[in-house]
């Protein structure tokens, strides 16, 4: 049978590139790791661990009620977190939360500006869309390996892997939100001599907020999905127990921490969604809907 396939492989060149990167810039990356660890992650984790659990529960209650204005939901969220404490997983919950917070903040710091730039430049969109597609579909383990080689084992590579995984929806939804702002409003703003920055901060970003917050929400959910994988490269937290459960055939233990991750996901989801839906816009939408129904 004739072979129609040309034979080639780029595995070697990629390997060489990564080794070169590690050889030349390894120290730099490790320094970056150390800085991120000592200035951001460790202090945050210690602070969260030092907080009395009661205070954390209260804070969640206040945030949740302030956002949703619903007593039942708030009670349910607090009860869920309390249950995690009962299962003896409180410390691990805080470690996971610290990881989430840092990863989410980094994702937002990169994702929102990227989304803004994308909404302004057709060329950048053309360039970024395929990159985002690849980031979203590439199996996590594929980029986990080079990240590991560069940043070593532990929390920091876990955070970077999480950021890569969680970034695409935020960039996309920021871009979409800004491009969906009503053209008549932009025209009105421009007619009063608004500068580009005034337009961005006074009109486009506030009106794109629900879309951007939906992106943040999606990013957090994707970051949570990374918790177990992150634990494989040595980050502490709830994922650790899931992994231990799998390794030791300890179904019960795995289930418990799995449940804890789900509860954390629900709590963060509810709260971030509540803040994404601006009360005024929500009301405006409802009015529009009823007006449409009667018309």
């Amino acid at each position: 049978m004739p072979d129609i396939f040309l034979q080639f492989s780029f595995a070697d060149s990629i390997n060489q590139f990564v080794s070169w990167l590690v050889r030349e810039y390894g120290d730099l990356f490790h320094q970056l790791t150390a800085v991120l660890l000592t200035t951001l992650l460790v202090p945050l984790e210690q602070a969260l661990l030092a907080l009395p659990p009661l205070l954390v529960l209260l804070t969640v209650a206040v945030l949740c009620y302030h956002g949703t204005r619903r007593k039942g939901v708030t009670a349910l969220m607090v009860a869920g977190l309390y249950l995690i404490g009962c299962l003896g997983l409180w410390d691990k919950l805080m470690q996971t939360l610290a990881l989430m917070v840092v990863a989410t903040v980094l994702t937002m710091l990169v994702g929102v500006p990227l989304g803004i730039m994308m909404s302004r430049s057709q060329r950048l969109r053309w360039l970024l869309v395929p990159v985002l597609d690849v980031m979203q579909t590439l199996p996590t383990f594929v980029y986990l390996i080079p990240v590991l080689m560069l940043f070593g084992l532990g929390k920091v590579p876990a955070i970077f892997a999480t950021v890569i995984y969680a970034l695409p929806p935020l960039v996309r939804l920021t871009d979409l939100g800004i491009r969906q702002v009503d053209g008549d409003l932009l025209e009105a703003a421009r007619s009063f001599g608004t500068t580009r920055w005034q337009l961005l901060f006074g009109v486009q970003l506030p009106l794109a907020r629900p879309s951007i917050m939906a992106g943040v929400n999606q990013s957090i959910m994707m970051a949570l999905a990374m918790v177990v994988i992150a634990s494989m490269i040595g980050s502490r937290g709830l994922g650790e127990d899931v992994l231990a459960g799998i390794n030791n055939m300890d179904m019960g233990k795995g289930m418990q921490s799995g449940l804890a991750i789900v509860i954390l996901a629900i709590v963060i989801d509810r709260i971030s969604q509540a803040y994404g839906q601006d009360g005024r816009l929500k009301k405006a939408l409802r009015l529009k809907k009823t007006a449409g129904a009667t018309a």
Binding site: A188, R190, S191, F192, G193, G202, L281
Partner: protein, 274 residues
């Protein structure tokens, strides 16, 4: 010197500008150009001058180019060729910064769709032009509040646009333009979205304000009654071409062609408004 002068302005939407311009100079009309090139022509050789202190109404059916024309006056749209002079200065030569100054200090605008920011209060919306200009927040809000009072919206400062009726929203739009304290105000079908009663109230109010403010107002309308009522002079556009410019009496007694005649006749069949 006229306050605003428009000289031989053409506007072609889409590419292949040169070919279209050539056709237009051979006196092809909008429909012919569309058929031959697929390009949409907005304005064909429009020239007019608007004097300080008058209410100049630009009238025409939808698609006649009136909204396109008014957007040339603050360069929300740039012409394909021609000159636009404001106080004798060609604004087409303005750079970004000068254009911004023009929009901040000389020309403000009121929109058919109101163009209010849904996430800001009525007071903040009315102060938008001032805040954009960099007037201190306290002063801007005080001045905007004053104008809200003058258009009859005292007490609504803390509401949001979606809590107001259409007429009230347009009063906010008007207050925003007046607060900007510009010599020229462009009003693009400002009252067209309002129901007839509210509309005539707003016209009345505009005339009242104008009697003390003496702004130069360029008012776009598709309604002859409105044009006759508020206009010092009226320009009539058809398919991007200027058909007639004159005082309300000119238009009524000496319509330039069949098109204008039809507007006038339609009106004669209705009882006089106001």
């Amino acid at each position: 010197m006229s306050k605003i002068e428009v000289r031989h302005v053409y506007k072609v939407f889409g590419p292949q500008g040169e070919r279209v311009m050539a056709l237009l100079r051979q006196h092809c009309d909008k429909a012919e150009v569309l058929e031959k090139t697929g390009a949409n022509v907005g304005l064909i050789d429009v020239s007019l001058s608007i004097e300080a202190g008058e209410i100049f109404v630009i009238m025409g059916l939808s698609g006649s180019g009136k909204s396109t024309l008014v957007r040339h006056l603050n360069r929300l749209i740039d012409p394909s060729s021609g000159e636009i002079l404001i106080d004798g200065e060609d604004i087409l030569r303005y750079d970004e910064k000068q254009l911004q100054d023009l929009r901040r200090n000389k020309i403000s605008m009121v929109f058919q769709g109101f163009g209010l920011l849904p996430h800001q209060t009525v007071l903040e919306n009315a102060a938008y032009a001032l805040l954009t200009k960099g007037v201190a927040r306290g002063e801007a809000l005080a001045r905007a509040g004053n104008w809200l009072g003058k258009v009859g919206l005292a007490g609504y400062e803390a509401k949001y646009p979606d809590e107001l009726s259409g007429g009230m929203r347009q009063r906010v739009g008007l207050a925003r333009a007046l607060a900007a304290d510009t010599e020229i105000i462009l009003m693009d079908e400002a009252f067209s979205a309002l129901d007839p009663l509210i509309r005539s109230e707003m016209q009345e109010q505009l005339l009242q304000l104008q009697s003390s403010l003496h702004k130069t107002i360029v008012f776009i309308s598709h309604d002859l009654d409105e044009a006759l009522r508020i206009g010092s002079r009226i320009a009539i556009l058809r398919d991007g071409q200027l058909v007639q410019v004159g005082t309300p009496t000119d238009i009524l007694t000496r319509p330039a062609d069949h098109y204008v005649q039809r507007f006038v006749e339609k009106r004669a069949l209705q009882p006089l408004a106001g």
